[in-house]
Symmetry: C2
Subunit: 247 residues, 2 copies
Amino acid sequence: MTSSSTLHQTAAILVIGNEVLSGRTREANAYLAAQSMFKRGCKLSEIAIVPDIKEDIIDSLNRLCQRYDAVITSGGIGPTHDDITMDAIAESFNVSLLEHEDTIAKLHEYYGDDINAGRRRMARLPEGAAPIICEKSFMPGAHIGNVYVLAGVPDIFASQLESFLDDFGGKPYIRHEIEVNIPESLFARALEDIQSQFPDVEIGSYPRLCGKKACGKICLSAQDETRLYHAKEQVNIMLNSIPSTKP
Amino acid sequence: MTSSSTLHQTAAILVIGNEVLSGRTREANAYLAAQSMFKRGCKLSEIAIVPDIKEDIIDSLNRLCQRYDAVITSGGIGPTHDDITMDAIAESFNVSLLEHEDTIAKLHEYYGDDINAGRRRMARLPEGAAPIICEKSFMPGAHIGNVYVLAGVPDIFASQLESFLDDFGGKPYIRHEIEVNIPESLFARALEDIQSQFPDVEIGSYPRLCGKKACGKICLSAQDETRLYHAKEQVNIMLNSIPSTKP
């Protein structure tokens, strides 16, 4: 675990997977991690989804590592030819991939002498990385520098993520939402005024299509509960002052 | 529409939205666009999700525009303070935002003289942009250079996307999947051999957790149906040759 003085305040998620870019799979791991970061009070600042191409992974990794406190990757650490994330991480940090002895020992215990090349491949970690161990898989993720390398299988990703969340954030974010049946254009300027009074509260407006009627939500989030409460109160007062009109 | 000689072969999607990064909203528009690109035969090469911060939008836009044939953006074109995508696009292309006359006329027709500032804001397009008109909203998206600027509301995004899909791709991709109950590590090397025989077929292996049993899918996609068929046949022959073993 990172010491409390260096908890990560900003993070990015790098999803590696052709299956997301081809529309086969609806992305789930970044969605989970986004919720976790919010609850931990860490600002998730970017999500990038790139294909199983080593150069693309390295480019994105280098860019995100420099820009944010920490990067969490998802996918590409299995035994097949399209699993190249560990190789990319090692190349990015300019280190070798080494078999992780404890993992090899566990594999021997379970499979006897028969550890095939695929399993050995999955037991490799970049030199200097700490393993990320979880109960859902023998195979470790890796923590090296400010990068956390996780599996793409959602159950394993979730379990690995859980194991190091204490490295992130500080004061949790809280969110309140207000259902709104008024066209956005009628309250946009007033909402902007409230936003400028509460720079520490993030205020967003999310309309939906509901036939001819206007509908949507105003969403407020902050780390300070009292400020959030006051901002929400201002929004409610403002909304109640708007006369009804054509949608 | 882009002329047939310049159909976009690669694309990126740029989602602008704090609501996705905070885990409030599960991303849906990039998922839809990924499926559309696959069906059209355009390679979706990257998805980036960034916050409602102008500098971040411009940075990502410039990077993606240079790298891929086209960029589709989602979100941030409403009337509220957090809707800054059109401003970012205009700044990135170094042009002004101008009211779109046809849209203003439509608004007058519907609302009479009462077009408020919010609606006027949404009627702005970057100078030189073509409007993206759809049946779900009065308010236009924008097509400028190789960038398509779409709304974040999923129904409007979908309708706007549909209107210019003919600019993309060429020969549709086709996908076949094979359910597999063998640990990946037992077929990883053989699958790699098949992949190297079929560089024009994208082969991925996607395991799931199914208790103690191995399970997952091998997924093959290509633009050439015959090649896809032959690759799939090779994978099936390979899988049938593997003796059952400990998961």
